[in-house]
């Protein structure tokens, strides 16, 4: 998987928000916001290919979780990002 071009993470009033740089219009009535751990992963995988296993490792490095939980969460994140249309 890879981040689609131009989806940059911004901090707006303490919210981690994905703003598409390429698109002309930014619609604040429907915006993708990330929680702390998603935002952390997003920044870490910027500009490189990744799989669930990579996210899992990143989660293990940052949070006190067991490997199974981390892998389940990593897969969930990939599913959510795919649904949101921000990775390919």
């Amino acid at each position: 998987m890879k981040q689609k071009k131009g989806f940059r993470l911004r901090n707006i009033c303490g919210e981690h928000v994905i703003v598409a740089e390429g698109i002309e219009n930014i619609d604040f009535s429907k915006i993708i916001s990330m929680n702390e751990s998603s935002a952390y992963l997003w920044e870490k995988v910027e500009g490189r290919d990744f799989e669930a296993e990579d996210l899992c490792k990143l989660l293990l490095a940052e949070y006190e979780v067991d490997e199974l939980t981390a892998l389940i969460d990593a897969k969930a994140v990939i599913k959510q990002w795919t649904e949101a249309g921000i990775i390919e």
């Binding site: 009033c13 919210e15 930014i26 009535s29 993708i32 998603s38 939980t69």
Partner: protein, 162 residues
């Protein structure tokens, strides 16, 4: 840990912190769709229902609805009713009083509005907005009564006494 983020959550962010980001995006050349709060642009725009499409403030004229920083950190989306030299007078369509700012305090210009949940915008160059604007602004002398007729509210002390 990651949570389900596929749900739609409506978040109200503080204007004085949030709107500078909107302004920054407009300055970068984006247009911004902004959900509107407040009743000051009634009757065309309704609180929590409608959205404005904002663009960079080029070619500012009387009659335009603009996002202006009338005091540091205090933003309004109101209509320009007068420009003299660089002094701008603003008045919300649903308001009776004026606000004042300089032309450089105008941060963005509304170029269209999404109303009543529609996906098609009403452009400010379209007939509907222009017709509404012409009529509503000319009716200013009786606006107080029109607003009362449209949105009746009575001071508590006038309400039926038990």
């Amino acid at each position: 840990m990651p949570e389900n983020n596929s749900t739609v959550i409506i978040k109200q962010l503080p204007n004085d912190e949030f709107l500078p980001h909107v302004v920054a995006l407009v300055e970068e050349g984006h247009t911004v769709t902004l959900p509107l709060r407040g009743r000051s642009m009634r009757p065309f725009l309704e609180d929590g229902r409608d959205k404005a499409l904002l663009a960079a403030p080029t070619d500012i004229n009387v009659g335009d609805a603009v996002l202006a920083e009338i005091q540091p950190g205090h933003y309004v989306l109101h209509r320009i009713i007068e420009i003299i030299e660089k002094q701008v007078t603003l008045r919300g369509d649903g308001n009776l009083g004026n606000e004042y700012c300089r032309i450089e305090d105008i941060r963005a210009k509304a170029i269209a509005f999404y109303r009543k949940g529609r996906t098609k915008a009403d452009s400010v160059t379209g007939l509907k907005w222009r017709l509404y604007s012409a009529i509503w602004t000319r009716l200013y002398p009786i606006r107080r009564y029109l607003l009362f007729a449209l949105y009746p509210h009575f001071p508590r002390r006038w309400k039926m006494r038990k």
